[in-house]
Symmetry: C3
Subunit: 557 residues, 3 copies
Amino acid sequence: MRMTRKSFLPFLLALLSLSSVPLGSAQTPAAAPAAAPAAAAPATPAPKPITDADVAGAPVPTADARAKGDPDGSLTGTASDVTVTDAKKGASIGDVVNQIGQNKIAINFVWTLVTGFLVMFMQAGFAIVETGLCRAKNANHTMMMNFMVYGVGMFAYWLIGFAIQMGGVGAVANLGGTPPLNSEFTITLFGKAFGLWGQNGLFLVHKGTYDVGVLVLFLFQMVFMDTALTIVTGAAAERWKYAAFIASSFLMGAFTYPIFANWAWGGGWLATLGTNFNLGKGYCDFAGSGVVHAVGGITALALSMILGPRIGKYTREGKPNAILAHDIVIVLTGCFILAFGWFGFNPGSTLGASGNGGLRIGSVAVNTMLAGMAGSFGAMLYMWLRYHKPDASMSGNGLLAGLVAITAPSGFVNPVGSVIIGLIAGVLVCISVEFVDRVLKVDDPVGAISVHGTNGLWGVLSIGFFADGKSNYGGSWNGVTGSVTGLFYGDNGGQLVAQLIGVVTLVGFVFTLSFVFNLLIDWMVGQRVSAKSELQGLDLPEMGALGYPEFELKTQA
Amino acid sequence: MRMTRKSFLPFLLALLSLSSVPLGSAQTPAAAPAAAPAAAAPATPAPKPITDADVAGAPVPTADARAKGDPDGSLTGTASDVTVTDAKKGASIGDVVNQIGQNKIAINFVWTLVTGFLVMFMQAGFAIVETGLCRAKNANHTMMMNFMVYGVGMFAYWLIGFAIQMGGVGAVANLGGTPPLNSEFTITLFGKAFGLWGQNGLFLVHKGTYDVGVLVLFLFQMVFMDTALTIVTGAAAERWKYAAFIASSFLMGAFTYPIFANWAWGGGWLATLGTNFNLGKGYCDFAGSGVVHAVGGITALALSMILGPRIGKYTREGKPNAILAHDIVIVLTGCFILAFGWFGFNPGSTLGASGNGGLRIGSVAVNTMLAGMAGSFGAMLYMWLRYHKPDASMSGNGLLAGLVAITAPSGFVNPVGSVIIGLIAGVLVCISVEFVDRVLKVDDPVGAISVHGTNGLWGVLSIGFFADGKSNYGGSWNGVTGSVTGLFYGDNGGQLVAQLIGVVTLVGFVFTLSFVFNLLIDWMVGQRVSAKSELQGLDLPEMGALGYPEFELKTQA
Amino acid sequence: MRMTRKSFLPFLLALLSLSSVPLGSAQTPAAAPAAAPAAAAPATPAPKPITDADVAGAPVPTADARAKGDPDGSLTGTASDVTVTDAKKGASIGDVVNQIGQNKIAINFVWTLVTGFLVMFMQAGFAIVETGLCRAKNANHTMMMNFMVYGVGMFAYWLIGFAIQMGGVGAVANLGGTPPLNSEFTITLFGKAFGLWGQNGLFLVHKGTYDVGVLVLFLFQMVFMDTALTIVTGAAAERWKYAAFIASSFLMGAFTYPIFANWAWGGGWLATLGTNFNLGKGYCDFAGSGVVHAVGGITALALSMILGPRIGKYTREGKPNAILAHDIVIVLTGCFILAFGWFGFNPGSTLGASGNGGLRIGSVAVNTMLAGMAGSFGAMLYMWLRYHKPDASMSGNGLLAGLVAITAPSGFVNPVGSVIIGLIAGVLVCISVEFVDRVLKVDDPVGAISVHGTNGLWGVLSIGFFADGKSNYGGSWNGVTGSVTGLFYGDNGGQLVAQLIGVVTLVGFVFTLSFVFNLLIDWMVGQRVSAKSELQGLDLPEMGALGYPEFELKTQA
């Protein structure tokens, strides 16, 4: 042990200075890395050609051996599992190559679906984070908005939203090509084609879209859309009329979200800023800091402005009152669910694991966890230093802010970049919450505008700085050869300009459309519940039942 | 330490500038993307035959290049990762074909296990949905039934249930063939073989069943069985004696469930109605609307009849009183967990992704989500129109009803069919709850009979109408060539008849057996707690501890 | 039906005696198991050699057919999905073999990442199990420790812990070889090399570790480390100063955990006990009963001794008082989350599905579920018999104890062994809790020392008895040819000795290091909150907000 201790400090020092000098005495080279099978020619004089008989005759265990059971798996998964077209002849070279292609697509379907399921589960996280941050008297109402937004959004998206977003996306190679999604409506400006919306895929049966690859894509995109919608319910909680919520969410799932998503991801005009105007690789948003989170956050802002603050939130002098989270346990549990689901959100956005760049899934996942960590740290330290307590709600929001911010760059940056992006996000969310609360005087019970809006935009911009040019996805992104690269890694700023155009478009377009939609709903059915309902709590007047009818409650605020 | 500090700062700064190369100007080209291993152009007129040397010599990156790290994944996952039998020679054509087969089985194992894990997680969803719908005074007891049903059911199923269900299922090709499961007990009636139960697989070591493929199948089937059992605990909540619950669940996991499951899925006589009697493709139940949900729901009915209603549920005149859910937050959170787990339940029932029809996993998943959405909509709108409030509990039950109903047809219908099936389910569950409550006067605290029983049967029948004939799973289903097709898509009604036979059998057999089993338990240990325990709440008398000992509670009912 | 009944009893008897004699009349051999494709020679006189044209020309569906949609998946996933280096020529044999390798690594990445995500989600389970078992007045504080331990641990591990643990692990073949992890610091003793710590991988950019395979490994190892850390927060709950928690967790994630993990898993000296000293296959710990759980549990013991018991836990005479769980609903929900996550923990520890032994993932998963079941049974029955009630908290802990115990042996034992290991664990945890509580008089609010410490060590030892010699992982484990085998399956005791050496090392080293670290922190910032804070509850004084500000609470203890 003494020897260990002795060499430990210098080792540490050396590690910290990233020295590459061998330490101590015996430096084991460890097992030689993945020795490539000798490409050398076997010594045989004339190599025997391979025939179909060699393919069909690959040695497999006997049926007798198999019937005795295979505890270690050495007899299972052999040549006999290759699907053959002619059982009598056995596997041909064509069967073999087809099976390889099917395996590839099967892996990618499995990945995209499983990660899509994780994203769907985020709805549960949003539901309890938002409900926990609100007051107990609105628990049923807040839960129900979060619960039904899943159905309302999906209905709108199935009817028309998916067609608008993805109807003209063209070949998604990782999912087998999705050939039916081949029709984008475009206009020509400055001599360039600007894609505006897709046209195939209504009801998922329209124009050949009842297709295994298209359906996988639908599932993944649907749960993303629903994430954007559920962000809004948080900012509008404790005062939003349930019927207005249904109408507003429907319009957002049918139009607002899909149109912007088409521009960024469906082959629309933001994606072609690179090919059309030589701005980096066009607007880049790997997993949706902009498309999902900022769209949700900006819509939340527009709606909160229309709704106005909760009764009691501001004093007559305009000073904000704190309204406390009624259940920290579900708030932080929900944050964990969200962090778990985010491993679907970002890494799943590769839409596969086998195929060019698909093996980067681990890199995306690690970036995601690191940025979330840094975000929770940033917020905790900021609050601790500023208010002398490591605030639980804001630490949770810090985690989410880091995750939101890394969403767009997660596919293009390295671990160190991710930590920096997340750390900035964690501090930014605290400042933004204070700014929205005190300067804008917009009431956002859960901090959705800051978590998803502010940090969504920060995430989009961060690509323009931190993308490290090492993320080769099939040699191109948005049709431009080369890897996405930011200012800090030698880009000329074109990428940052593309990102800025995206941010301006997002804020301008989404805010305007959301504001108009929600103003219309306000005129038609009214957005806000009566003051009486609000003071009583929305559970009985709006939903007909209390969230916690058997628990004795103290009222706050 | 001082030295550390000293070297730490510059190091950090270097890291923060993210490169040892100056920023801006010098762009490191990094590792060349996906160094294309030269396929060497054979412009030769006569194509050169492929030899083992070509297979073994597939170009791979050098060890040197690999040791420098591979940020974009272009150097990882190459020919050098193929498992070889003779390391000196390198990969032979036999190795290559075997690796393809192993990859296929590996994909299918991954898919089946991950989806099985999701199904297991549904237990958590059932636990909190049921507990939330009950009263706080029974929270510990309801949670514990849901918790221990997992263990009790698994124990029974490991001992004998799995052998009965699957011991003679024969080859499950997607899992590598599962050869040890080759013994079904059959009788001959009308000149046809009727499979009654399987005979291999006790304790998972019997007759070669300690086998990698068999174990994957066990895991997936086990969690399905447990889902059926946990349905019962909901209907029997707030009055079921804990010891009786243990005995009842054991018998259901050992016999009731496995026997019917053998008939439908284990190669038993319902599955062979097509081959034996030309009734469509035999009784079809893709993921268990019948086998799992209706079996659970019908058992719940039998047991609820034996138990009788809770004290206070009915007035002297027989009018039902509403007993409120004590915690809507966990009810709806549980519904989300269930919807999440259902993505395992239905899509996982393909038992694989690579293989004929395996790529339909996305179709099954989308059908599942659409039907759940439509179910929650149907129930919400029904309640809103009928009782003027969008009821949270019933919206949750509507989602579950839609999911239950689509479970059987999810592999055979299209998205539009799924929405219709789910919408009907959402309305049906509301009507059924009222019917059970008011007409049958059977007390079911959580609506399990309606959600799982009524809609399970509806799901089974819906195949006879909505199966669209496009679901090719290896060219046959239940041994009958062609795709499963319903009345609306041109079938002659044979499929519907097969489904009806299944429904009649299920109701007759399961109800009878469950009733007899539970009557026996009632005679031997008593099914119902004392009135004193029930009024006090079951937590202290049955479990020895309160669910919420520190929260002040109001009593209801 | 009569016939069925008649033959049922003898069948049961026969099954129970594991008879292999065919029963009844018609014994169907069912579908012939996995007919191996005829290895027979095709009748053609001279087999035609396969050329690149045959490979490139594998028959695929036309683009026209594909554009019409593919509802059944029969046209998707074909030869046309193989990545080609020369698009004009189509797939070469080199492309095909490379695609097979990529598919293999992609499967393994998917498996390792998805299971890693599940492990991360266990943090949510730990958080609510621990919080539920504590008192409501400490809910915010207990949640926050569980929440931030994720970030604190990850930060430390990213900075240095991963490099120490895995920097010299050498080739992880299932993940493509991870060549940059090739530097272990070793010393020579008794003429043998003893690995002490790894040296590559700081910040995940150091020495080529910005690498897709390394990042996948990091993610999986990171969540394991965090599991160990979060165990400690339970034992130290309700009295631990938040700032001390941060410091303590950082040191554990940076040093304590990684060093021991290096010795067991990173190529360190415990792993080489087999090659160096002929002790079985060296110290074996498949998924971390020792590395994760015992390290966590032993650290929990050291810290609890430093902290001392909660005020009110012991009477003046030293008799322990029961302090009740404040919310059984979240305790058991958390147990389900943990059991769900454990399907990542153990089966994911194969680090892949395709590759030698990878197909054992189902076996590992089934062992895991069976041991958990047996553990919950063992604890429930023990409590029921001893205290006349089936205690919910201890049943939950019994499940966890079974899962902890099977973690080390899960890859080496069979289903029957798993049930026995789990059953013992379930009883052992009850006895251990009583022992810690009454004899050691160490206060452990959640039973972490017994669940993770005692049963972690039991799990490590159980390999020495129950490993059945059927678990072939590529022909060797820790570099020793042959399968891991225990005393009950014919080993000479060498394996058991290796396990004992591991146990002694773990207890001695981890306890000492943890004790010293935490004593230092105690001297520097103090480990324990003031008595006033403790009596009030830690939520306001430490975190600045109550966990449940709106619920009326009764105080206990």
